[in-house]
Amino acid sequence: MLESPSAARAWRRSHVSGALFGLTRLLRDPFGQLLTLGVVAVALLLPALGLLALERVNAAASAWRPSGDLTVFLAAGEPIERAVEVADSLNGRPEVIATEVRSPDDALAELRRLSDFAEALSALDANPMPALVIVRLSPLGAENIDALKQELASLPSVDWVQVDKRWLERLEALLDAAQRAVLLAAAILALAVLLVVGNTIRLEIAEKREEIVTLKLLGATDATVRRPFLYIGLWYGVVGALLSLLLVWLSLRWLQPALADLAASYGNDLALTGLGARGGLALVGYGAALGWLGALVASSRHLRLAEPK
């Protein structure tokens, strides 16, 4: 018979109509969907921006490291030439990547920049700082840092050697904490997406309760009945993610001038670049998965209330 029923056709049809239903549902009343879409977009925006920023700061942090790994303080009164000699003797060695010589004036200037007592220091009669050699170590050097310190400290012209890991360690600890905070925020925000999409699906189901019961009475399977709601969740995720991509772009444009200033003052390229195509796709996928999951949870919970009697 030409008009024979077909389970496959019914299945395909329910996907197409489910997807269309979800999309039209969303587009029909965008104002009513503001809360949901807003939460989804913000919940994707904040982690995305956070991760982007972390990535840039990480990259910048490894590029900076201007003060090196070791600072060699020459004895007071030693001339700058002695510092250059020390630097030269280090430059050939495999433990060392680079060296940098600072005159006592440079050193004082830096001390001033970092201290709240700038004006007080300017009142000092004489410069108390010695000349410095700042040493940047190779991985090999980093391994043998203590031996190197001993060796340099025993040089006659050297007063004292300081291991400069402190601020890098601090920065790394800070970045680590920031990363955790971003991930925690992302998790909380993901939960918020599940809740808010779930709430919306609950609303949809409440509005269509009678219709759902009727569909089941007419022989629609649970999966068929559920499909449009899962698609609604999916579309929320997708549209919310697209919205958050827009917001990422806007935020970056808005942050750019401030960042440019900051970057200029460090002589570094701190410019945030966008997410790129792969990042954008990942964000949309993440949003879709979250929306779908929220719809899944809510529909399991609430479709049970729409059983025939």
Binding site: E3, P5, S6, A10, W11, T214, K216, G219, A220, D222
Partner: protein, 226 residues
């Protein structure tokens, strides 16, 4: 055997809606279930549609024990049925056409088949040309007929109609009953719950009479049509 009830009872908390009902229905048979308001007519049909489960007794439909049908198979079972609900149960956000097309879509009929069958069914209940109307734009009697068109469109094996003519005038009611009788040609078994005694007397078919949940009669008028 289409339907077999064996000592079926249904209690709702303190009320016995049906007690010890036993009867059988042959394939293609047409049966009225009648009785006063609250006698248990709707409950009997709900048991057949698996909307309610009996408190005691055995129900078989097409040789299948209803109590053995798992939840996952409910949809499959229900797609063999055509249901006319006492409260119509139309989908308010779909047109008359889409309401009637629904069982065909769920079965996976092709669009061409749907486009051919739906207008026929609508015409059979006197709603030809109202394809695009939404249920809210129909009078109650028209809504009831839309529900009837939806119940018959997919040629169900078993038609369960609960008070299908409650909102129709006597003349239309007879026409609808004649439509139901004509379904015998495609092998459909028909069970109609109705309190409309004049109509039942006019159609002259087998009639099961309920009173306060008890089966007090099961008669076939002497000159009943086969």
């Amino acid at each position: 055997m289409s339907i077999r009830f064996e000592l079926v009872s249904k209690r709702f908390e303190d009320r016995e809606a049906l007690g010890d009902i036993s009867f059988m229905v042959e394939p293609g048979e047409f049966v009225f279930v009648t009785g006063h308001s609250g006698a248990g007519k709707s409950t009997l049909l709900k048991l057949l549609a698996l909307i309610e489960r009996p408190t005691a007794g055995i129900i078989e439909v097409f040789g299948e024990r209803l109590s053995k049908i798992p939840r996952r198979q409910l949809a499959r079972y229900r797609r063999q049925l055509g249901l006319v609900f006492q409260d119509h149960r139309l989908l308010m956000d779909r047109s008359a056409f889409e309401n009637v097309a629904l069982p065909l879509r769920l079965d996976g009929y092709s669009e061409e088949a749907i486009a051919r069958r739906v207008p026929t069914a609508l015409a059979q209940v006197g709603l030809g040309g109202r394809e695009r109307a939404f249920p809210a734009q129909l009078s109650t009697g028209e809504q009831q007929r839309l529900g009837i068109a939806r119940a018959v469109v997919a040629a169900p094996k078993l038609l369960l109609a609960d008070e299908p003519t409650g909102n129709l005038d006597p003349q239309l009611a007879v026409e609808i009953m004649e439509l139901f009788v004509s379904l015998k040609s495609q092998g459909t078994t028909v069970v109609v719950a109705s309190h409309d005694l004049p109509l039942i007397q006019k159609i002259r078919r087998r009639t099961i009479v309920l009173e306060r949940g008890r089966q007090i009669d099961d008669f076939r008028p002497e000159d009943a049509h086969a």
